[in-house]
């Protein structure tokens, strides 16, 4: 805090600047609105748009609304058929309840395997989901190999 008396006195003394007493209400309302908005985003109906993907079961239930639209489906990988030459990948995405066949063209992450979580973006063409993007999810559980066989397997795959 600077002490006003330390300044040299001004040539023509001005009166003490009048401080406006502002109502605190705009600030309080503004903060409350921000908190409310955050709460609304967090718990309210907007939730739906923040969900990154739908599960196969949800797709089955909302098929009427979602059909023909570009969507993301997330689930577990089953029945992988991968041709490393043509990079043609076919598998089934499943959440236990419902499952759909997926087709994807391109290289995938090394973590892609049976029972791995995956999120595919694309649209249905007939019964098959044609994915344009494929993201592999991984578990937050990190583990070291417990047996010699697992260790050998790990060293072979990661070199």
């Amino acid at each position: 805090m600077s002490d006003p008396s330390s300044f040299p006195p001004p040539p023509t003394p001005l009166g003490q600047a009048r401080r406006r007493r502002r109502s605190p209400w705009p600030t309080v309302l503004g903060v409350a609105a921000l908190v409310g908005l955050t709460g609304f985003i967090a718990f309210g109906n907007l939730n739906r748009s923040l969900e990154y993907f739908v599960t196969p079961t949800e797709y089955q239930q909302q098929q009427a609304q979602l059909q023909g639209r570009a969507i993301r489906i997330g689930g577990l990988v089953r029945d992988v058929q991968y041709d490393p030459q043509s990079l043609n990948l076919r598998f089934t995405v499943s959440d236990g309840g419902a499952s759909f066949p997926v087709q994807y063209q391109g290289a995938v992450s090394d973590l892609f395997k049976e029972n791995q979580g995956v999120v595919v973006r694309g649209e249905f063409q007939g019964e098959t989901f044609h994915a344009s993007d494929l993201v592999v999810k991984h578990s937050e559980e990190y583990n070291v190999p417990k047996t010699q066989a697992e260790l050998k397997d790990l060293l072979n795959t990661t070199e």
């Binding site: 805090m1 939730n47 990154y52 992450s109 937050e140 990190y142 990661t158």
Partner: protein, 240 residues
């Protein structure tokens, strides 16, 4: 710089713990699925922790400013916001390098990543607002409020993986209902030492940046006084 034993000791402790963390991190056993990529956790998680700590600091120091009205709390709040931004960028870069070989992409717009990107907007805005206000007391008051409201980012970002479905995995160290470590026990001490090292790093950076900000402010005050002193005789002449 003057001899400052606290800064030197803090710097030494930070350096030593960081070196221990690097040593432990690089010798940590491979993960069964990701191999050596799991070691990125020892950088990614602590840098995210540091950014939370720093943003929390901005809120706390802002609150202290509003209560005590001492300019040094405002300087610390500003220093903390800068550190938070820096380590948000570190977290994002580290996360992208981890995401590419595991998820298969550098970036997805899921809830965790989107809210993290939003923090750059919030705290970039905080620093922008500071640069737009010339009156130091008004600047401190306004930015304290922004800093306190901005702290909401921390719980929202932390909970983003629980509240919304996304690609980012949930916490490995679960704190919500009962503390649980969902990984091989061998990784836990390394993560903790790394978290400790980054916490010390925060304290060190905050101290150094705070000292720098105090000196900048002292210099500006001095220059202002000099200008006023130089302007004074001329005013007398004009009057006389």
């Amino acid at each position: 710089m003057k001899r400052d034993l606290t800064t030197t000791l803090l710097g030494g402790a930070t350096l030593v713990t960081l070196l221990i963390a690097v040593g432990l991190g690089l010798s940590a056993p491979l993960d069964i699925n990701q191999g050596s990529l799991v070691r990125l956790m020892f950088v990614h998680v602590p840098s995210a922790w540091l950014s939370y700590l720093a943003y929390g600091g901005t809120g706390l120091f802002g609150l202290l400013y509003l209560i005590r009205r001492q300019r040094r709390w405002d300087r610390l709040a500003m220093a903390s916001a800068e550190i938070g931004l820096l380590f948000t960028v570190v977290t994002i870069v580290g996360g992208m390098l981890w995401a590419k070989p595991t998820w298969g992409t550098y970036w997805v717009w899921d809830a965790r990543l989107t809210t993290t990107a939003l923090s750059i907007v919030v705290y970039g805005g905080y620093l922008l607002i500071r640069s737009l206000i010339d009156d130091p007391d008004r600047r401190a008051r306004v930015s304290a409020v922004v800093g306190i409201v901005g702290t909401l980012y921390v719980p929202v970002n932390y909970m983003a993986v629980e509240w919304w479905r996304g690609v980012h995995q949930t916490q490995t160290l679960k704190l919500l209902d009962g503390i649980r470590w969902d990984a091989a026990p061998v990784y836990l001490p390394t993560l903790f030492i790394s978290l400790g090292a980054f916490t010390l790093l925060y304290a060190l950076l905050l101290r150094v940046r705070g000292v720098m900000a105090a000196r900048e402010e002292a210099r500006e005050e001095r220059e202002l006084m000099n200008e006023l002193g130089a302007a004074q005789p001329r005013a007398e002449v004009a009057r006389g």
